[in-house]
């Protein structure tokens, strides 16, 4: 099966290739605007996925287990970037993205019985305010493509450094209902915060418009010689492995498709 993630990454790469292979009409144009661009965006970490983590615990002479299932995303993304052209239409850029939020996990535990081996009792609960945070540093190689006098399309890609934290349900505190002990309640869920740093990649396109000064009501201000607006679509990915209390979990899926928009300042 073709990896969906791979397909998502492939689309912008095809676009970049297309633009490089078919220079035609764009080759005759100069890059409009500025060599240095600084951007600030807000948008969405799109998509959501269910994640289940399993932790084991020792109780009543046996191993019990707790499964925490939570939905990751969508979140709000804050993004800041800076880039410069270094040769003709080629440039480099740095960006920082922050995405995160809180969610609720459903908790299902298999709790050992005090009287019998292999006769676990099932208990359910929920754990609230589970937090996930991603801080992603992107280093990009960029190709700027002018689209008219005020608009620039930038295709970018490169390595990303992920600094993430993820809350996982790691255990429970039980409350026995008493004899015959065939039922048990979860009094509280224990949550553990895992922090992970990993390398990944990103690809994306940025469409910037610096023609605000052409709008009559804004034309009087020198600010609009530099200020523009833009939208950025960036796909990033990293899949580090994690352990919860010594038990290896499914890979942590970091990054996603970020769709953001905001201001561009050119110099």
């Amino acid at each position: 099966m073709i990896d969906v993630v791979f397909l998502r990454a492939l689309v912008p790469l095809v676009v970049v290739g297309f633009l490089l292979i078919v220079p035609g009409r764009v080759a005759a144009q100069s890059v409009p605007g500025h060599r240095i661009t600084v951007g600030a965006n807000i948008g969405a970490h799109t998509g959501s996925a269910s994640r289940t983590d399993v932790a084991e615990f020792s109780a009543l002479r046996e191993i019990g287990s707790v499964r925490g299932t939570q939905t990751i995303g969508p979140y709000t993304v804050f993004d800041g970037s800076g880039s410069t052209l270094v040769w003709k239409r080629l440039g480099v850029g740095l960006a920082v993205s922050h995405a995160g939020g809180k969610t609720t996990a459903s908790v299902e535990a298999e709790v050992p019985h005090p009287f019998f081996f292999d006769f676990h009792r099932t208990a359910t609960a929920s754990a609230t305010d589970l937090e996930r945070r991603e801080l992603i540093y992107h280093v990009s190689a960029q190709l700027a493509i002018p689209l008219g006098s005020s608009t620039r399309l930038t295709v970018l890609g490169g390595p990303s450094r992920f600094d993430a934290s993820q809350d996982l349900v790691s255990g429970i505190e039980t409350s026995e209902q008493g004899f015959p002990f065939d039922s048990v309640d979860i009094a509280a869920s224990q949550v553990e915060r895992l922090s992970v740093k990993s390398w990944g990649y990103h690809v994306g396109v940025d469409l910037a418009y610096h023609g605000l000064k052409n709008i009559s009501m804004l034309s009087g201000s020198a600010l609009f010689d530099h200020l523009g607006v833009g939208v950025l679509i960036r796909y990033s990915r990293s899949r580090p492995s994690i352990e919860l209390r010594g038990v290896e979990q499914t890979l942590l899926e970091l990054g996603s498709l970020h769709a953001v928009g905001g201001l561009r300042v050119g110099f």
Partner: protein, 555 residues
């Protein structure tokens, strides 16, 4: 709870005619019990009038009232017969009612007692007669009236319980002459608190090597076989082979203390007999609660006491023969021992020793979950029907215990609570190997009767209480599994293993609530049929149980 007066109203309201049997007995001028077997299918009216009359004149008194956990709304009352204030042994009636209407009456009453009740001997005189250095008196003697069938008369006797190397003995001593009227063994034998700070769960291997959890308490730096998690406290005492102390503990000369409790330092228990006795006791309580809603042996979560290693296996040939019989070759429940009764699980035989010519080996009795549950079943009987441990009522007493033993095994195995447990219809197959002690499915294979016509009529074994029990338990087996009775060749279409729990409830309810202390097989049949009607609207259930009793020759 129904009062004396309201029960009388209930009984009188049920009918107008006198009981036919009573009339017949009076016409013939004979002494003897008036047998009351009255169910919804007949005789309720006349029996109700007789019992109501005796209740009104004080001959019968309500001694216990119990709510029915299996048939909500039903109330069971146990009436005891008195003559001029003295208890009449065997005179009792069990009344089941529903919203003030009688549903069934089972019992025996003695309507023609006329003897004086002033004893010549004092209780102290009787203690001197019955007690000795070897036989300790367990409780003050009770003055009772018994029927002497040989003399066709009633006697005023003292009933006194003693314990010694011969086990628990109940003697009846004539209150006028001091003559010992009868002596018999009274051993019923087999050849949460959610928070508990010091409770702990340990583990250990049973005699068969199966891994089990053990509910214990931490005391100091040791773990004691003292279950604080179950509402009924289960304590297992390890006598460490000190048979003299075991005897003294049973006959009340010394009290069991925490120093006698089975113990372990790291909570990984090594002694299989202690593990099996302790877990088996707890599991039986679990079964009683889950299946019948019964709270412990006494239905009041009273304590359960088990004793293991009352003798060293290796001392088989050095201890007195009576001690070997009692502590090597036996498991028993002594209801009057200790404060709340004690089950004693014998040691079995040393390796290399076999039972007589059979070549069978005898393991620790604690190894048999059905044995442990069987003995605790006797405690349930003691706290409920008090089936007299003699003759047919004694056989029913044994039968009930076997049903509890088998039921507990199936409960543990089939619900997945203890998967290694192998459930079957053989009693003691894990102790007396190969073969076990009794078979409910094929009693003849162990030399026990599968039909009433084959019942043992001798006097040994208290009138064949063990061997004759299989008549009733085989009926139970046929009701569940179906099959052909080998003697009558009557085939019964059983209700199937999927309905085993229903049949268990039917029999339990009949034995615990409906049967009086001197019940007969015939009465057991009627009581189980009544119980079946009470618990199931499906006529097939009642018909199947009736067919099973018919197949074993009980009508």
């Amino acid at each position: 709870m129904l009062s004396n007066r309201s029960l009388r109203r209930t009984l009188f309201a049920t009918g107008v005619a006198l009981l036919t049997a009573q009339a017949a007995a009076q016409q013939q001028g004979t002494l003897g019990p008036l047998v009351i077997t009255a169910t919804q299918s007949g005789d309720l009216g006349s029996a109700g009038r007789v019992v109501g009359g005796m209740l009104q004149d004080g001959t019968l008194r309500i001694v216990e009232t119990t709510d029915d956990q299996l048939a909500p709304g039903r109330i069971h009352q146990r009436l005891a017969q008195f003559h001029r204030g003295v208890r009449v042994s065997g005179g009792s009636v069990c009344v089941q009612s529903d919203s003030g209407i009688s549903r069934s009456l089972f019992g025996h009453v003695y309507p023609d007692i006329s003897i004086a009740v002033e004893p010549t001997l004092s209780a102290r005189d009787v203690v001197a007669i019955a007690g000795s250095d070897d036989m300790a008196v367990l409780s003050p003697p009770d003055l009772v009236i018994v029927r002497d069938d040989d003399e066709d008369a009633y006697r005023l006797v003292y009933r006194i319980h003693t314990f010694g190397m011969s086990g628990l003995v109940v003697s009846e001593i004539d209150a006028l002459t001091g003559a010992v009227v009868s002596t018999r063994s009274a051993l019923t034998t087999q050849g949460v608190q959610a928070t508990c700070p010091d409770c702990a769960v340990g583990e250990g291997l049973g005699v068969k090597g199966d891994r089990k959890k053990v509910s214990v308490r931490l005391s100091g730096d040791e773990f004691h076989a003292d279950d604080g998690l179950r509402p009924a406290r289960v304590s297992t005492y390890d006598m460490r082979g000190d048979w003299e102390r075991a005897l003294d503990a049973l006959n009340g000369r010394v009290a069991l203390t925490s120093a006698d409790l089975a113990r372990d330092s790291d909570n990984v228990w090594q002694d299989g007999a202690s593990v099996d006795a302790h877990t088996g006791s707890g599991w039986t309580l679990d079964y009683l609660y889950d299946r019948f809603g019964r709270k412990g042996l006494d239905d009041r979560n009273g304590p359960v006491v088990a004793m293991v290693h009352p003798v060293h296996r290796s001392d088989l040939f050095s201890v007195p023969t009576e001690v070997a019989d009692l502590f090597h070759l036996n498991a028993f429940f002594c209801g009057l021992c200790g404060q709340d009764g004690i089950i004693v699980l014998g040691e079995g035989l040393p390796p290399g020793q076999t039972i007589g010519q059979t070549g069978q080996v005898l393991d620790f009795f604690a190894a048999g979950l059905d044995i442990v549950a069987h003995e605790l079943g006797h405690a349930v009987t003691d706290f409920s029907s008090q089936l007299i441990y003699e003759g047919e009522s004694g056989a029913l007493n044994e039968a009930f215990s076997d049903l509890i033993g088998v039921g507990t095994e199936f409960f543990m195995a089939e619900t997945g609570r203890h998967r290694p447990e192998r459930a079957d219809y053989v009693i003691g197959e894990d102790v007396l190997k190969p073969g076990g002690i009794r078979s409910l499915s094929n009693p003849l294979s162990r030399g026990d009767p599968d039909h009433y016509s084959l019942r043992f009529l001798g006097s040994s074994d208290n009138g064949g209480v063990h061997t004759n029990s299989t008549i009733a338990t085989h009926a139970y087996y046929l009701a569940v599994e179906g099959g052909i009775n080998q003697t009558s060749r009557i085939e019964v279409a059983g209700l199937g293993p999927q309905n085993r729990d229903l049949v268990e409830r039917i029999f339990y309810r009949a034995f615990v609530f409906l049967l009086p202390e001197n019940a007969t097989f015939s009465m057991a049949r009627a009581a189980t049929l009544q119980s079946a009607r009470d618990l199931s609207d499906d006529e097939t259930v009642t018909q199947t149980i009736a067919a099973a009793w018919t197949a074993v020759g009980v009508e």
